[in-house]
C-alpha cells in the first residue's frame, strides 16, 4: 500500500468547507436510534469549538427513505427539501449541514438536478409556494456532518482525552471506516477524498491516533438498501451484504467500525447480532463480542471524554465495553442501563451468541 499514492488522489478530491455558521438538519434514523450522536455533535461544535450551528425545531425529514422506497415521487422530496432551505434562509444561514448520508445524497442529487434542469427548480418554487407560501434560495454550501468532523479533526485531537490508542499495548486502534454509499459514490467530487479512497473518516481516525484498516470489501455497501431491509422477503440480501463485509474484514481483527451514515451504523451494528444468532459467529478482536460500530460524532465525543452512557452508546447492539477498556475510557458499569436522572431502564435480555455487557 502506497500512502503517497492515496494522498495524490485525495489532493484531487478536496472540497471547500466553511468553518462556521451552519443550518443543521437531523437524521430520522439517528435521532431515533442513536440520539446521543446528534446531541454530541451540536454540543461539540457549539460548546467546545464555539461555532454557530442553528437547528430549527420546524425542520422535518428530507423524505429520503420514502423516496428511495419508491413510495413518494421525487418532486415531494424536492419540495420538502426546498422547505428546509426556506427555513435556512429564514434563519439567515447560507451553509447547510445534514446529519444523514441518505439525506446528503438526496440534497446533492436535487441540487445537481436543479442546476441541470432549472425548469424543475422553477416548478418546485411553485409547488412550495402552493404548499406553504414559502420562498427559498439554495444554500451556498452543502455539508455532511462527517465533513464537519473531518474539518474540525485537529480541534478534536487537541482536546483528545482518550485518543484511538490501545492503552495496554500503546498501538493505534485498528479502525474500519465505512462510508455511506450516498456520501461519495453519487458525486465523488462533492466528497472529501472521492469515492475510491474516501478521506473523510480516514482523516479523522488518523488525526485521533487510530490506524485505518483497508480491507478488500471496504467499498462494499453495508447492505442497508431500502427496498432490501424494508421488505422481509428481501432482508436476506441486506444481511448477506453485511456478512460479506464482515467476512472480508475478519482477518484484520478490527477494534472499531466508524461510519458516517446512520443507516450503515444501524445495520452494521444490528446485523452482527443476527449473524451471531443464526451462525454463532462473532467478529472483532474480543471473542464473544462483536465489533462496536460508532458514528464519527460518537467517536469524536468519546475521544474528547464524553461519558459513554451520556452519549447513548448503550443504544448500540454491540457492547462497547471492550473498546472503552482498550481506549482507557473511565466508565461506570452500573450506569449503562440507567436513564436520565438515574431512572432504571431495565437490563435487556442477553442473546445466546453475542455478549452485550
Amino acid at each position: 500500500m502506497n500512502y503517497e499514492g492515496k494522498k495524490k488522489i485525495w489532493s484531487e478530491f478536496q472540497k471547500e468547507i466553511p468553518d462556521d455558521r451552519y443550518f443543521y438538519a437531523r437524521s430520522c434514523i439517528r435521532q431515533n436510534f442513536n440520539p446521543g450522536a446528534e446531541q454530541a455533535f451540536l454540543d461539540i461544535v457549539r460548546n467546545r469549538f464555539g461555532k454557530d450551528f442553528y437547528e430549527d425545531p420546524l425542520h422535518t425529514t428530507c423524505g429520503g427513505i420514502a423516496y428511495h422506497s419508491d413510495t413518494t415521487p421525487e418532486e415531494t422530496s424536492m419540495t420538502i427539501i426546498a422547505r428546509q432551505f426556506s427555513l435556512m434562509n429564514q434563519a439567515g444561514y447560507k451553509n447547510f449541514v445534514v446529519s444523514c448520508v441518505t439525506s446528503f445524497g438526496l440534497h446533492s442529487e436535487i441540487l445537481q438536478t436543479w442546476e441541470e434542469h432549472p425548469e424543475i427548480e422553477q416548478k418546485i418554487h411553485e409547488l412550495l409556494w402552493k404548499a406553504c407560501r414559502r420562498e427559498f434560495t439554495k444554500p451556498e454550501f452543502l455539508m455532511h456532518s462527517s465533513d464537519m468532523m473531518y474539518h474540525y479533526r485537529f480541534l478534536i485531537s487537541e482536546q483528545a482525552k482518550y485518543p484511538l490508542i490501545n492503552v495496554r499495548t500503546g498501538e493505534p486502534l485498528k479502525v474500519v471506516e465505512h462510508i455511506g454509499c450516498h456520501y461519495s459514490k453519487i458525486f465523488p467530487s462533492k466528497s472529501v477524498g472521492g469515492a475510491e479512497y474516501p478521506r473523510v473518516l480516514a482523516g479523522l481516525v488518523e488525526a485521533l491516533g487510530g490506524s485505518v484498516v483497508d480491507y478488500p470489501e471496504r467499498r462494499h455497501c453495508c447492505g442497508f438498501g431500502f427496498r432490501q431491509y424494508l421488505v422481509k422477503a428481501n432482508r436476506g440480501y441486506s444481511l448477506t451484504n453485511t456478512y460479506k463485509k464482515f467476512e472480508s474484514m475478519e482477518p484484520f481483527h478490527p477494534d472499531l467500525i466508524i461510519t458516517n451514515c446512520p443507516g450503515c451504523n444501524y445495520f452494521l451494528d444490528r446485523w452482527q447480532y443476527v449473524i451471531a444468532e443464526t451462525t454463532g459467529k462473532t467478529y472483532g478482536d474480543t471473542p464473544g463480542y462483536g465489533i462496536p460500530v460508532l458514528s464519527s460524532e460518537e467517536v469524536a465525543a468519546l475521544v474528547m471524554g464524553y461519558d459513554p452512557w451520556d452519549l447513548g452508546l448503550q443504544m448500540h447492539q454491540v457492547a462497547v465495553e471492550p473498546l472503552l477498556d482498550k481506549m482507557g475510557v473511565q466508565y461506570d458499569k452500573s450506569r449503562k442501563y440507567k436513564g436520565v436522572g438515574g431512572k432504571d431502564l431495565g437490563i435487556p435480555a442477553s442473546p445466546a451468541n453475542i455478549r452485550i455487557f
Binding site: 500500500m1 502506497n2 503517497e4 499514492g5 492515496k6 495524490k8 488522489i9 472521492g194 469515492a195 475510491e196 479512497y197 483497508d214 480491507y215 478488500p216 470489501e217 471496504r218 467499498r219 482477518p251 484484520f252
Partner: protein, 341 residues
C-alpha cells in the same frame, strides 16, 4: 527565384517511429529535414518496449534498423519547440536550443501519451504495490528491476484501461492493448510457467495479421485464462495480495480472484505537449484531444492548416505498421504539396 529541393526545409516534430520514417523518406526525396525530439533519444515509446507483437520482434532491433542510416536528416534530441510562427509562406520554428528554422512544411509526428493509469482510481495504480502498467512490465522484460514482479503465482491483465471509457474521457479503442496484453501474458507465462494468468477483456480485438494466432497460442500453449468482463475494483488483502472483482459476463456471474500481480493495459491518450502548437496554428482537434485530419479517408495526412501535416498516433491510436505507413504517406503528401508551391 526557383527553389531547389535542397533549399526546401521540412520540420518534423516528434522523433518516434513516424518522425524517423518520414524524415528518412523526405530526405531521400531531397528535402532538408529537421527532426525535433524532446527526449534524449529518438524512438519515442518504441524505445521503452522490449518486444513487439505479434511475432516477438525485439523493439531494439526495429529501432536500430530504423535509425541505422538517417542520411542527411538533421536531428535534434532533448530539444523542444518553443515557438511556431506562421509566415506568409511556411513557418518559423524556434527551438529550445536557440535554433530557428524556416520551414516550408511542418509535419507533426507527436504520437501519443500513455494513459495515466492512476486516473482509474479503482484499480489502485500508484497505491497498491502489486499493480503495474503494461509499460512497467516492458521495463521488467527489458531487465529493469520492477519490485512488484516478485515471483507472482497469480497474474491478471486488465484490458482497456483508459480506453472505451467515457468516465476518463476516452471513448475510443486504443487498438494495440489487446494484442499487447496477449503478448505480455505469454511472455510472463514464459518467465513464470507455473503462474495462472488471467486476461480480463471486454472484447478481444485481434484484428491484425498474426494476432489471432497469438491469441490461440496464448490459450492453447500458455493456458492463459480469458475472462470476459472488465475489472470493477481492486483492493488489497491483509497480506498485500490484490483482491480483484469483475463480472464473468459469459456466465453472467460475479467473479472474485486474489492475484499477486495486476497489469493494467494503459491505452493511448493524446499527447498534451502538442496542445500549444495546435492552439497557435488553430489546428482542429477531436473531442478526445487527438488532432483532426482534414479527411480521415482521403486526406488522413493533411491538416486544416496549409503546410501542416500529420503522421502516426497524433491523430488517434495506431499500430506500429500503420504509423510507419502513415509516415511514408505523409512524406509523399508533403512532396506533392511542395511541388505545387
Amino acid at each position: 527565384m526557383e527553389l531547389t529541393y535542397q533549399q526546401r526545409n521540412v520540420v518534423i516534430i516528434g522523433g518516434g517511429p513516424a518522425g524517423i520514417e518520414a524524415s528518412k523518406a523526405l530526405d531521400a526525396l531531397g528535402y532538408t529535414v529537421f527532426l525535433i525530439e524532446r527526449e534524449n533519444r529518438l524512438g519515442g515509446h518504441l524505445g521503452r518496449w522490449d518486444r513487439l507483437f505479434p511475432y516477438g520482434t525485439p523493439a531494439e532491433d526495429v529501432l536500430g534498423q530504423m535509425t541505422a542510416s538517417m542520411g542527411r536528416v538533421k536531428w535534434f534530441t532533448s530539444t523542444e519547440v518553443t515557438q511556431v510562427n506562421k509566415l506568409e509562406r511556411g513557418y518559423n520554428i524556434i527551438l529550445s536550443n536557440g535554433l530557428s528554422v524556416l520551414a516550408d512544411a511542418l509535419l507533426l509526428t507527436t504520437g501519443f501519451s500513455l494513459f495515466n493509469a492512476s486516473k482509474k482510481e479503482e484499480y489502485g495504480y500508484g497505491i497498491y504495490d502489486k499493480v503495474i502498467t503494461n509499460a512497467d512490465l516492458e521495463d521488467y522484460f527489458s531487465g529493469i528491476p520492477v519490485p512488484a514482479v516478485d515471483n507472482p503465482r497469480r497474474i491478471g491483465f486488465v484490458h482497456c484501461v483508459g480506453s472505451r471509457d467515457e468516465k476518463v474521457g476516452n471513448r475510443y479503442c486504443s487498438k494495440v492493448c489487446c494484442a499487447t496484453a496477449v503478448k505480455q501474458a505469454c511472455e510472463i507465462k514464459e518467465k513464470f510457467p507455473d503462474a495462472v494468468v488471467y486476461c480480463f477483456y471486454m472484447d478481444l480485438r485481434m484484428f491484425g495479421r498474426g494476432y489471432e494466432d497469438m491469441y490461440l497460442e496464448a490459450q492453447k500453449k500458455y493456458g492463459v485464462i480469458f475472462v470476459r468482463g472488465r475489472v470493477s475494483e481492486v483492493s488489497e488483502d491483509k497480506d498485500g495480495h490484490l483482491f480483484v472483482k469483475a463480472e464473468d459476463t459469459l456466465s453472467g456471474k460475479p467473479l472474485r480472484v486474489t492475484l499477486d500481480l495486476l497489469v493494467l493495459m494503459a491505452g493511448m491518450s493524446h499527447n498534451r505537449a502538442v496542445d500549444p502548437i495546435a492552439r497557435t496554428l488553430a489546428l482542429s482537434t477531436m473531442e478526445d484531444g487527438f488532432l483532426k485530419p482534414k479527411d480521415s479517408l482521403t486526406a488522413a495526412q493533411a491538416s486544416y492548416c496549409t503546410g501542416v501535416f500529420y503522421a502516426g498516433a497524433c491523430t488517434g491510436p495506431k499500430t506500429l505498421p500503420e504509423t510507419m505507413a502513415e509516415a511514408r504517406a505523409a512524406a509523399t503528401s508533403i512532396h506533392e504539396y511542395l511541388q505545387e508551391q
